[in-house]
């Protein structure tokens, strides 16, 4: 089913920062890379922060899979409306030019490839773009997938935002995912606190590094620099 992850991997003169990025700084980096006017879905959790870093004039239109385009910021105080939430069920607002639609239309929009970018969290991403972000597969875990598998295959570009290492120091960008897959070969770019990577059929490539050299990063991940 999944293809063997290619051993070919390379890095060329990556941009860099002199320190590991916080999730907030990383959100700003991703916001910078989202093209003006793009239609974007920001997954539940960390990716939600990216919205705060989009320039007001970016013209980026946010989609939420529970049935809305042109979603505005989180609702506060009196603006909270139980009939208006994002996919994480957090109360949000609408912007001028909002459109509402039902779930089948909303997922048709995603799965038909109309979104430009989707940003998701992940447990693991493989060098070839395989994604694992829906279940740890532990026996006592109650499985729950939500829209994860639809989002994974649904945008022109699927970005992942995550810490590069687990708390115990294991890489989450890996030759092959150990966790149950969400989608195969679906991720094109991985944004982490230690650096940014392109992934896909041609393997992994370091784009930027933060607080670590490309050579050292490649070694920690088992990437062969070409």
């Amino acid at each position: 089913m999944t293809t063997t992850p290619t051993a070919r991997a390379y890095a060329e003169a990556p941009r860099s920062a002199d320190h590991q990025l916080s999730m907030e700084e990383l959100a700003a980096v991703i916001a910078r890379d989202i093209p003006a006017g793009a239609f974007v879905n920001l997954g539940i959790g960390q990716p939600t922060r990216i919205a705060d870093h989009l320039p007001a004039d970016s013209g980026v239109v946010l989609h939420t899979e529970n049935g809305m385009l042109n979603m505005g910021p989180k609702a506060e105080g009196d603006a909270v409306d139980p009939d208006l939430t994002n996919a994480g069920k957090v109360p949000v607002t609408e912007l001028p030019g909002t459109a509402y639609f039902h779930h089948a239309d909303s997922f048709a929009m995603m799965r038909g490839g109309h979104l430009d970018v989707c940003v998701l969290g992940a447990y693991q991403v493989a060098f070839d773009g395989d994604l694992a972000n829906w279940t740890t597969g532990k026996p006592d875990d109650i499985p729950a997938v939500g829209g994860a598998m639809d989002l994974a295959i649904g945008a022109k570009d699927v970005y992942v935002m995550m810490t590069l290492f687990t708390r115990s120091g294991e890489p989450k960008l890996v030759p092959r995912c150990a966790y149950p897959l969400t989608g195969i070969g679906c991720v094109s770019r991985v944004y982490t606190d230690h650096g940014v990577f392109d992934v896909g059929p041609d393997g992994v490539r370091i784009r930027e590094t933060y607080g670590i050299g490309a050579k050292e990063l490649a070694e920690r991940l088992g990437i062969t620099l070409s």
Binding site: D83, L84, K89, H103, F107, I142, M149, D150, I184
Partner: protein, 231 residues
């Protein structure tokens, strides 16, 4: 389905739901959840139900209360596990309830297929994942797809905003979610609304669920639950 019936109470609306029925329940979390119909269904007593819904209940209300009352044999949903889904979690861990996890988009599209007379469809979601197990895979134009079958309900319980007396429905913001799709996929569609108006009041261009999909309507008092932050 002939013309929609306006009934006097939520209890009248859910009359006749049989033991063992498959019931589609609208709502995404609390938004669009037909609380009054679910409460009436608990009073009505039907058991051994299969529930199709995005989630498996929040806190102690709505679907969670139906589950707690022991009326549900099986839940077909995309996201049972939530911060406040302790009722479901407990039943599941005790082996007292069956669970079938379906990707959210497949849940919607499979119900649309049921309503639209589509026998089955090839869908790109879940290819190569554990949820592909047992499903037919086919490559079309270089992309892999899984064959997905319709999900049909005996009943749908949905919450809408306003109905006209013919049964045309409009929804409110993201509370629309699964309502329009479920209305098409059930043999009998039962709707709770905040208001019933005369035909001709709703803008014909803005009707979301045409009257043909609606069987019973009950007007209920507005009720707002706390919005929680779990998926």
């Amino acid at each position: 389905m002939s013309r929609a019936e306006i009934v006097e109470s939520a209890d009248a609306a859910v009359a006749g739901i049989e033991d063992g029925a498959t019931v589609l329940v609208g709502g995404f979390g609390l938004a669009g959840m037909p609380f009054d119909l679910i409460d009436a269904l608990i009073r009505q007593g039907a058991k051994d139900l299969t529930i199709v819904s995005n989630n498996a209940g929040n806190g102690e209300v709505g679907l969670a209360a139906l589950l707690a009352a022991g009326r549900v044999r099986k839940v077909l949903c995309s996201f049972p596990r939530q911060a406040d889904s302790w009722v479901f979690d407990g039943l599941y861990r005790e082996g007292k309830i069956e669970l079938e996890v379906v990707p959210q988009g497949n849940l919607a599209e499979r119900m649309r297929a049921a309503g639209a007379g589509i026998g089955a469809f090839y869908c790109p979601t879940a290819v190569g994942t554990p949820l592909a197990e047992g499903k037919e895979e086919r490559e079309i134009d270089g992309r892999k797809y899984l064959l997905e079958y319709p999900i049909k309900g005996d009943y749908a319980l949905i919450g809408a905003h306003v109905a006209d007396a013919l049964g045309n429905l409009v929804y409110r913001k993201t509370a629309r979610n699964f309502g329009p799709v479920m209305a098409t996929a059930a043999t009998t569609t039962i709707v709770q609304v905040g208001e019933v108006v005369e035909p001709g009041t709703l803008d014909p261009e803005a009707v979301v669920t045409p009257s043909i999909y609606v069987d019973r309507i009950v007007q209920v008092a507005a009720r707002h639950y706390t919005v929680q932050g779990a998926r």
